[in-house]
Every structure is written in structure tokens, then in C-alpha cells.
């Protein structure tokens, strides 16, 4: 079944979408070595600044921590396969991989007063942003938020794996962003964009679409895929300080053959072998909108 710009529950695994993305990923040659450890500000310098001599040649991935935030209802879906192959590949590299399986966790998406334990700062006028900021400082956020923040704090790389719902993430994943990325933890003022509190971490969106790659081109009916990425990659991830790697988009798996879906999964697994060597995309309007 073809579900256009909305739901994409692939049955198996990758395709033309993934292949067409090759030109978007700016990778340094394998021989140039991985980027510096994530603990200092130069860990992910802007494009063109990586010098291979800065890095030890024997550097390996063991000890790296990866969080996969996964939002699909069906374990045997293409999204499920993409998540599984990421766990397998990254584990094999020696990374510690944690998965937040949002539907399986029945993760709460609604931003409400239940997110604050104990007394509200202003019980007479509920302001979610103010209350969760204060609750973060007093360590009185609800336990499910604290748990996700711990996972996120420890992660070097966060992979978001989801089917595109209405040009964005499914509500359960939007709720994870709304609730987990609270002021004080993920950002503050000052402390946003390049100074966001999650700086030093990498993020990547791995998603499936209903439409084909050509439908998500500048002249396609859905417009360039970069357009819908803006609120997620710039407005959310960059805002919190993440360096964002090129998206992994598996286009139109429901219209693809089983063979093509298998290639989508294989392509993702292959990319992950050298994921630590990639440079981030520029989160700026020219990249998104071609100005």
C-alpha cells in the first residue's frame, strides 16, 4: 500500500532513497581517522576543519555510547529492522547501545503538570516551561523524564529511528522531545544552538517515508526533504547543541520490492561502519533552502 507523505511501515528493509543520499553525506576518507573524543569543544569542528594529524591512528569505537530513540509499533517493520541492524553493527564495534523503544515503553507524550513531582512553583498559573525548568534544577522531574535524560547525557551519538508522520516525527517521539529536552538540561539562555548543553554529542535522523525520493525533491509535490528537516535538525537538535549528521532517509519502502528494502537495511549497516568519521551537516538556511 502506498501511504504518501505519511506512514511508512516497511515489511523488511533499504532503497533508492538511501542511495540518493550518498551525495549529502560529507565523509572524510577512512584513512583520515575518526574525530577527536567528544569531551572537548573541538570534537566536531565545522566542515573542512578536521585535520587527520589531530587524531591518534589507533583510535577505536570501544567505549562509545549510543542511544537509539525508536518509534515504531511493529518490531518486524522496516523501522524495526533498521533499529536492529544499528544495534548489531554498533555493538560489534564495541559501542554500548541503549534503545528507548517508545511505543513498547508506552512513553507519555503529553506535557502536563504530572511531569513535576512535589509542589509547583506557581500552582495558580501553570507554565510548563517554567515549572519543568525549576523542577530540573530541584531534581523533581518525573522519573520517566529523568531516566531519558540520563541516557541522553551519557550518549555520544543519538539515533532517532522513525517513520515520517505528517512531515515530522510521530507524536510519541515529539512528546519525547517536548518533555526530555527541558530548559536547564538541554539548553538555557544563554546556552542554545552552538552553545546548547548537548554540544559534543552527535545526532542523526534515520527515517522512512511514504513518498519516493523524487516526490521529496525541490520540484517534487512534497518539496525538498531538507524543508521538513528544518524544525527537527535546526530548531530542535542544533538548538540543543547537537552536531547533526546527514539524515538516513529510506524513501518509499512500501512501494519498494523486498530486495530494495533489504538494500535499505544493508546500506544503513554499511554507513554505520564509518559513522564516527563523518562530519556534520551545516544547519543553516543555505543547506536547507539553497539560498
Amino acid at each position: 500500500m502506498y501511504v504518501g507523505a505519511l506512514f511508512t511501515e516497511g515489511d523488511g528493509s533499504p532503497c533508492c532513497g538511501a542511495r540518493s543520499l550518498a551525495s549529502l553525506r560529507v565523509t572524510v576518507p577512512e584513512s583520515s581517522g575518526p574525530p577527536a573524543p567528544r569531551t572537548n569543544k573541538t570534537a566536531h569542528p565545522p566542515l573542512g576543519r578536521i585535520q587527520r594529524e589531530e587524531y591518534p591512528s589507533s583510535w577505536d569505537m570501544a567505549g562509545k555510547k549510543v542511544l537509539i530513540v525508536y518509534a515504531h509499533q511493529e518490531p518486524r517493520s522496516l523501522n524495526g529492522s533498521l533499529k536492529d541492524v544499528a544495534v548489531a553493527e554498533l555493538s560489534q564495534q564495541g559501542c554500548t547501545v541503549t534503545v528507548s523503544d517508545l511505543y513498547a515503553m508506552n512513553f507519555e507524550p503529553r506535557a502536563t503538570g504530572k511531569d513535576i513531582t512535589g509542589t509547583l512553583s506557581n500552582p495558580g498559573f501553570f507554565n510548563y516551561g517554567v515549572e519543568t525548568h525549576k523542577a530540573y534544577e530541584k531534581r523533581s522531574l518525573s522519573s520517566d523524564i529523568i531516566e531519558e535524560q540520563k541516557k541522553l547525557q551519557e550518549a555520544d551519538l543519538v539515533i532517532f529511528q522513525f517513520p515520517l508522520y505528517w512531515f515530522s516525527v510521530p507524536a510519541v517521539l515529539k512528546g519525547w522531545m517536548d518533555r526530555v529536552l527541558c530548559q536547564g538540561f538541554a539548553f538555557d539562555f544563554p546556552g542554545s544552538y552552538d552553545d546548547g548543553f548537548l554540544k559534543g554529542k552527535l545526532a542523526i535522523l534515520s527515517l522512512t517515508t511514504g513518498g519516493t525520493a523524487s516526490m521529496f525533491s525541490k520540484t517534487g509535490v512534497n518539496g525538498d526533504f531538507r524543508y521538513f528537516l528544518w524544525p527537527l535538525q535546526h530548531g530542535t537538535l542544533h538548538f540543543c547543541g547537537f552536531k547533526v549528521l546527514a539524515p538516513q532517509i529510506s524513501f518509499g519502502p512500501e512501494m519498494a520490492s523486498e530486495e530494495e528494502r533489504k538494500r535499505m537495511v544493508a546500506s544503513w549497516a554499511q554507513r554505520l561502519k564509518t559513522i564516527w568519521e563523518e562530519e556534520p551537516i551545516p544547519c543553516s538556511p543555505p543547506w536547507y533552502f539553497g539560498q
Copy 2:
């Protein structure tokens, strides 16, 4: 408190943001009469096609139906005030106004198998898009979805009232979009964009932001506000056939004075007096991205 690009719970009511939007609304002069009834395909012709002689001069708003989908936790917030003033103004015009108060309803945002009553089409492999499409046809969607679809089906105008969370709608409202706008009801193939099943209806996003209007400009840190509107106005509303009116953006109420917030509310009320005379915005990349 300043909460940047994220949460905006204003305490009172409008401002510079609303004023700066005046140039975006392409309205026909009051004397040119309202557009034709929403029941035929020419109800909302493209920009520039409305001819005043097509419409009866004695046309009034009585009998028009408006649905307000409202997503704020605090009734006394600016969002609450903007919702309240819309109910008051539109009721005064003789419209029937219905409000879906999503937090008060504890509206379910997660897209799961619970949305289908009775037997699944394929219990061994859950595909949300396929199952809800079939359930729509068999009238076996969950009652909360059916209820919202009924309200939507009856509405001539839908207003979405929300604070901007992460360059998008709060998860509770994203869940309303994910679950209510299902295939078969809101669109099909063919049956999307200008042929979407909700054609003949008007939609408008009325939102508050954390940042100021200048922060949401082309050269501002958050980029032009049109950028974040794309997934909502084009990818969701236009996709379902809605004609989209210019957004009502109340910029930065938390940084504004009480006086300015009151002006934001008054500005919205004033605009609603002639809302039925407005022409839709062009949901196309040039409008969004200035190409």
C-alpha cells in the same frame, strides 16, 4: 521568563508579532463581500481569482461552523485568551463554535492498535496506516477519533491554537493530526493536496512563540517563521485539501508587557471580524522560502 524558541505561556494577551504579520494577510476589501459558500470547489479560489460580483452582498456568517483545536494546559494563558476571544467573536457573528480542548480531554497522542476496535486486518504485522484506513472504512476506529472526525467534517473553518514547541505543535496536537487525519477520511490516493478530502474548508494556525519576530526572520537565529510552517501548512493542512489562511503569530508574549499582550488578543479579535473575507496563502516553496 524568556523561553526562546520553545514554550510560550503568556499570562494575558498580543504584540509586535501580530502587527508584523499584517503584510502577510492578503485580504480583499470589506466591501468586496465574503467568499462563496464552502460547499463547492470554487469556494476558495486561488489568489487573485475572487470577483466581488460572484458573491451576494447580503451574505452573513450565521450558520458557519468553526472548530478550534486548542492545546494549552492553562486556561488563563495567552493561548487560553486567544481561544476565548475567538469563541466570543465568532459566536457573536452567529457561527457555531466547537472547541477541542486537548489537554482537558486528556487526548491520546499515541498511534497504536487501540485506535482500531475489533479485529485487525493483519494481526501478525501491525501497520498503523493500513489498519486505520481499513478501520475508517469499516467504521471501527476508536470513538475518540470518530468524534474528532465528526467535528472536523462539519467545520467550515478550523483554528489550531497552540504554543510553538520545538518549531512545531505540542505532542498532544501532533497526536490529534496523526490519529484524526487518517487515510480514507482526510485524503487518499488519488485525493491529496488540492484534491484532499477536506477541500472546501479553511484552516489557520494561531500560535505563540518564545522568540521575537526578528528572531524568526530570514536573518534571525531561528530563520524565517515560514520555514517551520512548511510541515504544518503544506505537508499536513494543504495535503488534506484545506485552504490555509495566513498564520496568526503572537511573537514572544513572555517578553512582552501586559499592554502588548492585550494588544495581541485585541488584534486577533479584530482580524476575526473579517476572517471570512480573507484569501488563502499560496502553499508553495516560493512563499515559504522566497525562491
